[in-house]
Amino acid sequence: MHWIDWAVVAAYLVWIVYDGLRRTKGSKQVEGYFLANRSLPWWAVGLSVMATQLSAITLVGTTGQGYQDGLRFVQFYFGLPLAMLILSVTVVPFFHRAKVYTAYEYLEQRFDAKTRALTSFLFVVSRGLSCGVIIAAPAVILSIVLGWNLTLTVLAIGVPTAVYTMFGGVQAVTWTDVKQMVVIVAGLGAAIVVLLAGLPEEVSLLGALHVAGSTGRLEALDFRFTLTETYTFWSGLIGGLFLMLSYFGCDQSQVQRYLTARSIQEGRDSLMMSAYVKIPLQALVLLTGVLVFVFFLFSPPPMLFNPVHEERVRASAESAEYERLQGRFDALYQARREAALGAAAARDQGEPAFQAATREFRERDADLMALRRDAAGLVARVSGDARYNDVNYVFPTFITTRMPIGLIGLMIAAIFAAAMSSIAAELNSLSAATVIDFYRRHVRREAPDSHYLRVSRIATGAWGLLACGVAVYATTLGSLIEVVNRFGSFFYGSILGVFVLAIGTRRATGTGAFVGLIAGMASVAHVAFWYPEISFLWHNVIGVAAVVLVGMTISVRSGGARRER
């Protein structure tokens, strides 16, 4: 990497850490540290909500998905606007009026201590692990693409984030999130400009999009109702609705964002920002991936995007076979390039000519993709990694090999920003759950505010260290990432079910909610193991249904708790 790019990344890191640390003076009490004294404007909270959701793996993985599959993944977010509306009229006023620090604290007000402890414990365990994964995933990719030391990359992402979050608290998290969102959007904008400028002179943007469209990559919607297809209109709208309700309504890393808002109305407005902007933003990220596909139609791509695996195959006994595939790939690329140029030009030559040209292009593209699959199979044989997939390396490869000096640094800073904004919110919320739900509730109930503030800072630092440790460990154990994701999906819907019982019913009892939560998690685990073909988005619906059904049955049978909300 050129020294100018290094300087851009270093300047970004110094700026963010400085900006975070100068918020320390506004965090002299626990309420200031965790809730910013409920004083933040809606637009800052709204940007923080979006920055927390958009992790580095979202930025890099989503563009990769756009490259591979097109816009289809956008359907995942179709339930989000509806979820935001529902949360605006339910949990936002409930949490604000209850004056809680954590979402789980409300469950003790409504049910009992054990329900609060179990939900908070599930949050702490899953988020503690996933925080490590959020650091590990971009660190692995950046270290491979740029040849950086992996442990140092993990520390470069994790340590600055832990430092400013530890001292600056939620104010540091929110105000750095605002700046990080600006860096992310600026980076994406720069990438789109470079992609468009990289098209050959004879190919217009419309022509390029028609070529991409002929492969189906611009078809975002799939209206089939099937439980086995991961991303359809219905799984996104219904399964996605429940997932987003759970994520934004019951996950402390998001709840804590809007608890910092000045008022109920500003809390609502902060969620409305995502309701309006999230789907178009994700469509733009995916479209960037489609444009990377278009770019590599006219500029030779590597056969495989993960250079470490490629080197390993070249050094193995299969190197001759790899060379043979590379030779064929180069020839097929040229053929596809010609066909793509022909298809882009045929747009003005009438419908039959355009149809024939796009058919020719699709055939050449299918040949090239088949060869890429052969090469990936070869890597899988040599590396022993049966699920080898280089889709997450597509966008970083484009950044590091095709973007101009200076903008490479900006894009790397954007990936750092995406990772750090998510990690900071998680560290702060993990600390809040640890101190408020466990330490202050079960270990030391009476102590001065300064004591809890000190413990909160120590907890944030400890979670940061643990996250870095998990990240280093996760990078050597690839399947851990999947285990963590799977573990999280077991109880996401179930926790939502507990909040539905808490806010939506008057008869539900603490025991009903507690047993319902366990039954919900067991139901989802059962479905996940015995019916793996069912898309994970539906797990959230199953979890909620099981908790509400079992929870209400037990509550009604035991007489119900006619408590007023």
Binding site: F78, P81, G213, L221, I279, A283
Partner: protein, 38 residues
């Protein structure tokens, strides 16, 4: 700040705006696919 008695109306108006925006965005995505896939 919105007066409490006006809040249901405000929320209803926001809901209509949010859902109308979503329908428009989904329609735009559908048209994008139809136009460029033809």
């Amino acid at each position: 700040m919105t007066a409490p008695e006006n809040q249901p109306l405000t929320i209803r108006a926001t809901a209509v705006r949010v859902l109308a925006t979503e329908v428009l965005v989904i329609a735009a995505l559908w048209l994008l696919g139809r136009y460029f896939s033809a």
